[in-house]
Amino acid sequence: MAELSYRDAVIRGISQEMERDQDVVFLGEDVAKAGGVFKATVGLYDKFGPLRVRDTPISEQAILGAAMGAAMTGLKPIAEIMFSDFIAVCFDYIANEFPKSRYMTNGQTKCPLVVRTGNGAGSRFGAQHSQSVENWCMMIPGLKVVAPSSPRDVIGLLAASVRDPDPVIFLEHKSLYSIKGEVPDGEIVDTLGTAKILRPGKDATILALAMMVPRALASAEKLATEHGIECEVIDVRSLVPLDTQTILGSVARTNRLFTVEENPRLCGWGAEIVSIVADEAFYDLDGPPVRITTPHCPLPASDLLEDAMLPNVDRIVDRIRRTMGA
């Protein structure tokens, strides 16, 4: 057991997989010699050398395209897109190439790669460097989409992603890079498509992802101590595959559902899950399922505005308390 930062967990996760498998290679902008703009890849270049850890030009299409071509023909590339907002400049690979090639070719083409990217708000970077783009990826058939909230999950889910035979979008939350957590020694490999119940509760289910997980937990604590509402908090972890069973099971026990989403309001993962629950567990629900999200707005740069925009403990507690009539 060691205390590790989320940032260092990324380094350890990539290292673990590169040590295991010579076919794992890593490319991105400023990731090699400089160790990445978030310092989440420091040391990999020295450890694995210039053939396996490669700096690229500012050419996101070339980065993802090259990763795909390499994946199709025998490598297992990890590609970094520095900020997840930049997925927009290479979205053709995300939306049209990676996820469709296997299907279109009737199973001939494989695409085992991972796109790591810095996702999410909280760093005062403004509207084009702060977005939560999990729904940009979740909506595309053929992708897998993962977003860890703890250092341990970073390693385990990254390993699972690298070993997965499908293209995986791996969303690291920029505002979590400096958090720390206990991580066991030795190899860690997790399983995609498994949500985690982080806190049991009988009154309501709260689903959260990435940076919203600690906020959901803090909200649950407050709801319990101040309002006597016992919430079950689930870290969704993996949007595709989605652990619907754990979610439906929890709702069957608590009969209430809340999502806490950093993404802007429309068509987020919460909408998908609420719709699944409303369809398949309608009679389990004792009241309206409620999504607590960032408003349908671009993100502002100033710290005060940014903080006011995102779901926070006060807003979460208030909304759940009012909805539960407490």
């Binding site: 390499a70 199709m72 070719t105």
Partner: protein, 340 residues
């Protein structure tokens, strides 16, 4: 098969040789006949989706494919029948795919624009302009990384040189010194718009080469010998660590952009002028020049015709795509499950 003695000079200058020439001829002819047939089948309403023919451009496909070794990789566009057939994919598989039959190359899932046969080194046909140039870089990167000696060859049109991915791929290939060959088939048009209307330079690929520190190579794409020789040179460069090449082949498509296009935008006489330089016509003359008999040629003609006829019959007889495969192979586990 040689029936007539060639002159001494012919023999000396003949770096290509008879066997390869017959292969080049046959390859062009298979493309010609199979695509003509695809067109006929479309008129009979047996080909349902869109299709983009390479009639008139066979010299490029044959020249590059016949210079490849087993294991070399082709990356094509939606106009990919030619390059797919040129790698030896059976006509039946291609026509079957166009007709949505269960014997099709991808059993109807991909259609005309996505022909893929990894077995034959055909690593996909890509229908979003420019996307496959970076992908070909990636395959070449794998070869370089693993010390494998195959070359990745990426075909695209003149219009493709104006999209961003072209630029990113070319720069990337050069700085990583990748064994990839970029082949621009300049057929003078994007869909319906003349390439010269929308391009800042005269040779859409050739005049961009220097932006990546590459030499300008512009060749006659309708002469399969010229293409073949240039391909060999580029492949050698790639295999020996000399890095990427960008080759612009001047050619012309005899039919419209896609099956829906009567190609009315062409200036009068243009098609006729290019038909004089039909690659198959040129190549038949070439074979004759090298003393290959009319009989040998017409044997190939007959052979190819038979192959295409037989393929057509098999496809007509084949059952339509099975609905069982509707949702298979979305994910690597064979299905489309995204949840438990």
């Amino acid at each position: 098969m040689r029936m007539q003695a060639r002159t001494e000079t012919d023999l000396i200058n003949d770096d290509i040789g008879e066997t390869k020439r017959l292969e080049l001829y046959k390859t062009q002819l298979v493309i010609r006949d199979a695509e003509q047939r695809a067109h006929d089948l479309f008129l009979q309403n047996l080909v349902k989706g869109t299709s983009h023919l390479s009639l008139g451009q066979e010299g490029v496909a044959a020249g590059f494919a016949c210079a490849m070794k087993h294991g070399d990789l082709s990356f094509c566009t939606y106009r990919g029948h030619a390059h797919t057939l040129a790698r030896g994919v059976p006509v039946e598989k291609v026509l079957g795919e166009l007709m949505g039959r269960d014997n099709g190359l991808m059993r109807g899932k991909g259609g005309s624009m996505h022909l893929t046969s990894e077995l034959h080194g055909v690593m996909g046909s890509y229908a979003i302009i420019g996307a496959h140039l970076p992908i070909a870089c990636g395959a070449a990167w794998r070869a370089q990384y693993k010390g494998q000696k195959d070359v990745s060859v990426c075909f695209f049109g003149d219009g493709t040189t104006n999209i961003g991915a072209f630029h990113e791929a070319l720069n990337f290939a050069v700085i990583w010194n990748l064994p990839v060959v970029f082949v621009c088939e300049n057929n003078l048009y994007m869909e319906y718009t003349p390439i010269s209307d929308v391009t800042a330079v005269q040779n859409p690929a050739g005049d961009r080469a220097s932006a990546y520190g590459l030499p300008k190579i512009v060749i006659d794409g309708n002469d399969a010998d010229v293409v073949y020789r240039e391909a060999l040179k580029a492949y050698d460069r790639a295999r020996s660590g000399g890095g990427p090449s960008l080759i612009e082949c001047l050619t012309y498509r005899h039919s419209g952009h896609s099956r829906a296009d009567p190609a009315k935008y062409r200036p009068e006489g243009e098609l006729e002028r290019w038909k004089q330089r039909d690659p198959i016509k040129i190549y038949r003359e070439r074979l004759a020049q090298f003393g290959i008999s009319e009989k040998a040629i017409s044997d190939i003609d007959a052979h190819v015709k038979r192959e295409v006829d037989e393929a057509t019959e098999k496809c007509k007889a084949a059952p339509p795509t099975s609905l069982d495969i509707l949702t298979t192979d979305v994910y690597a586990d064979g299905g489309y499950a995204w949840r438990n």
